[in-house]
């Protein structure tokens, strides 16, 4: 009975699937050819088409670089304001709302504090730039530059839209994490060049944290590479295209292993970008800014810029690997251009970063490394096995499909619960004797 029913469902479903697939293909083609979709490329070609070939390539690349730097620098500026506004709202206060834009007279010089990033920038630029006499002058100068440079390098392989990947590398994912890991060098450079024992210790601590979290970060993306069968970011996004039953996207995050990997990736990227609750390297309320102790003025601002760039880059990579990149969630939403979808997903993840910062208290260094080595790394390793199971069973159909989901879910949840129980035995749930 059930077999017959399922067969019936299967036939009708497959028929429907085919129809939807045809419709989707038409829509997809229409969307891909839509003028709006090709707007960035058309705009660029409008200026560069008359150039001879090697020059054209060079100018195109330069335009891409300038666009990335301009877009993400302004995103950084807006993000600092948005972050303070959201943190304020979470704490039942309005956040910065006084600093207006002086050149807009009709707003009485005040627009939700939109002038705040501008004022902060001017303040940072006009502050005295102090370099300690004993510091290594060259390295002290190079550290923020290197940090920022490596952070910007990571943007090169992120596909911002259907045709908008600045550098379509075959091993784009590898390149991304190599460039991202190089920022750790700059952090230690800053600590070392300051010739200050606190800076050096803080830099070592930061390095311990960053290296600890490299591991779960990289292990969490291995399943994605395995199942997409590609190290190229564009290929991974293409692998997540299409919709099941016409409306459920094939994003990695919507599979058991993908969800687990995404959570691990997200936690690790919080730690990698020095964000709360893992912001020990520059814990404002505890250390004197850690490895940034001897930095002031615009160099200090550059470190923060690099932090936000790192955050944006990791969020962009998270979107690419798990949230379907620039793919729209539903076929009919394909009308909206792909780069808008990427932006929406990116901003959602960034809001998640801010939300988490507004919620959780900072971890201790031992809790931090414990979480990485004893919890996230085993889970990420196990998750590779789950992904292997998922990839071997891709041809299971009908009721077996349900079995596949059930087994994968158990394989994801069981180690989480077991390792969590083992680690939290004697610690959690915490009881408060003197407080309610």
């Amino acid at each position: 009975m059930s077999v017959a029913l399922s067969a019936c469902v299967a036939t009708s479903a497959s028929e429907w699937n085919v129809r939807v697939a045809i419709a989707a293909k038409h829509l997809l083609a229409a969307a891909a050819e839509s003028r709006l979709e090709r707007l960035p490329i058309t705009a660029r070609d409008f200026f560069t088409q008359w150039l001879p070939d090697p020059w054209r390539w060079l100018v195109n690349s330069l335009i891409g670089i300038v666009a990335i730097v301009v877009v993400f620098a302004s995103l950084f500026a807006v993000l600092t304001l948005v972050e303070r506004k959201v943190l304020g709202r979470v704490q039942n206060r309005p956040g910065p709302n006084r600093t207006g834009l002086p050149f807009l007279p009709f707003t009485e010089g005040r627009m939700f504090g939109l002038g705040q990033p501008l004022a902060d920038g001017i303040k940072m630029l006009t502050k005295e730039d102090i370099v300690p006499r004993a510091a290594d002058q060259v390295l002290h100068f190079l550290a923020p530059v290197a940090l920022l440079a490596f952070s910007i390098l990571t943007f090169a392989v992120i596909p911002f839209g259907r045709n908008l990947v600045p550098l379509a590398l075959d091993a784009g994912v590898l390149y991304f994490f190599a460039a991202g890991a190089a920022t750790e060098l700059a952090v230690f450079m800053a600590g070392w060049a300051s010739r200050n024992k606190y800076s050096l210790l803080a830099a070592m601590r930061a390095l311990a944290q960053l290296i600890s979290y490299e591991l779960p970060l990289l292990l969490s993306i291995v399943p994605v590479v395995m199942l997409a069968g590609s190290l190229s970011t564009g290929g991974i996004v293409e692998a997540q295209g299409g919709w099941k039953w016409g409306f459920v996207p094939h994003w990695h995050v919507l599979t058991p292993w993908g969800f687990a990997a995404f959570i691990i990736f997200f936690i690790s990227s919080l730690a990698e970008s020095n964000r709360s609750p893992f912001d020990l390297p520059e814990a404002e309320s505890e250390l004197i800014a850690g490895h940034l102790t001897e930095y002031s003025g615009f160099k200090y601002a550059l470190f923060f810029m690099a932090e936000y760039f790192g955050m944006c880059a990791l969020s962009g990579m998270g979107v690419t690997l798990f949230l379907g990149g620039w793919q729209a969630p539903c076929p009919f939403l394909e009308i909206i251009p792909s780069y808008v979808w990427f932006t929406v997903k990116l901003l959602t993840l960034l809001l998640g970063f801010i939300w988490i910062r507004a919620t959780f208290p900072r971890l201790r260094i031992d809790q931090l490394t414990r979480l990485a080595w004893k919890f996230l790394v085993p889970l990420a390793l196990f998750n590779i096995g789950v992904a292997a199971f998922w990839s071997r069973t891709h041809d299971w159909a009908g009721p077996l499909q349900l079995a596949r989901w059930a087994i994968a879910l158990v394989l994801v949840v069981a180690p989480f619960v077991l390792i969590g129980r083992k680690l939290s035995a004697g610690i959690a749930p915490r009881t408060y004797r003197y407080a309610t």
């Binding site: 709202r89 939300w355 680690l423 959690a428 749930p429």
Partner: protein, 261 residues
């Protein structure tokens, strides 16, 4: 079954994190529509609604807003000046007299200064004033660019009409007005009675002598000329309260002659 699953989920590792995230999310969303979650008052644009009993720095009450200096309730009795703990009040009496709000001739303060850089808003001046002439204000935007002369408030700056007093402390001001009206009525009746007594005084000699004695003993308009002085019982306080100061008998001795008469 459902409850058991729910319990298991709430006990699971990471459930506390999700609960915490829910708390902050509620605050974030609630701050846009729930006044309890967004209590900030954006001050210069939105003025605070001060509670009625809020007080800050004294001011002088005048009866008539059109002529503030002419209708000050203050009669320069200098009680507040003497009682002020940080001694921030400075008063100079006038040489002449002017009719006050009730039309009686009174001394008035030629100079009345309060140094608000010294004043501690303790309200003692208000409590000791027998004329309800000085009351507490509600000003708080008192920043100045000059810390000496601008913080020393003159008589002209301190004088504010009774309507203003009503606007800041309505309950208290109504009470004060009722009390003043009652006192004024009593005073008028006394004045009338005194006038009547004076008119009838020359005829009975004995009455005149008593009235004259009373006038001599207690000068001033407040003394009721016709009010029968309560018969004192001189030995009673001394016997019932042995700890009374030695000054008491002499006071009684002063009081006794009219009683005897």
């Amino acid at each position: 079954m459902f409850i058991r699953v729910h319990l298991w989920l709430t006990k699971m590792l990471g459930s506390g994190l999700i609960q915490g995230l829910a708390v902050t999310a509620k605050n974030l969303v609630g701050s846009f529509h729930d006044p309890l979650r967004f209590t900030t008052l954006e001050y210069p644009e939105q003025q605070p609604k001060l509670p009625e009993n809020y007080r800050n720095f004294p001011f002088l009450v005048t009866e008539n807003a059109g002529d503030p200096m002419g209708t000050l309730r203050c009669v320069a009795c200098q009680i507040c000046e003497k009682e002020c703990p940080p001694q921030c009040i400075y008063i100079e009496k006038s040489k002449d007299k002017k009719p006050d709000a009730t039309g009686r001739m009174q001394i008035y303060p030629a100079v009345f200064d309060i140094d608000t850089s010294v004043c501690m808003s303790c309200q003692i001046c208000v409590e000791v004033c027998p004329f309800d002439a000085i009351k507490m204000d509600q000003v708080f935007e008192i920043a100045t660019t000059d810390r000496f002369s601008a913080l020393l408030l003159r008589r002209e700056q301190l004088a504010k009409p009774n309507e203003y007093y009503h606007s800041i402390h309505p309950t208290e001001a109504t009470e004060v007005d009722a009390r003043l009206a009652a006192e004024r009525k009593v005073a008028e009746e006394k004045a009338k009675a005194a006038a009547a007594a004076k008119a009838t005084a020359p005829k009975p000699a004995a009455n005149a002598a008593v009235a004259g004695l009373a006038e001599a003993g207690r000068p001033g308009p407040a003394t009721p000329a016709t009010k029968p002085i309560p018969a004192p019982t001189p030995p009673q306080p001394a016997s019932s309260n042995p700890a009374q100061p030695p000054a008491a008998p002499s006071a009684e001795a002063e009081n006794s002659p009219p009683a005897a008469a």
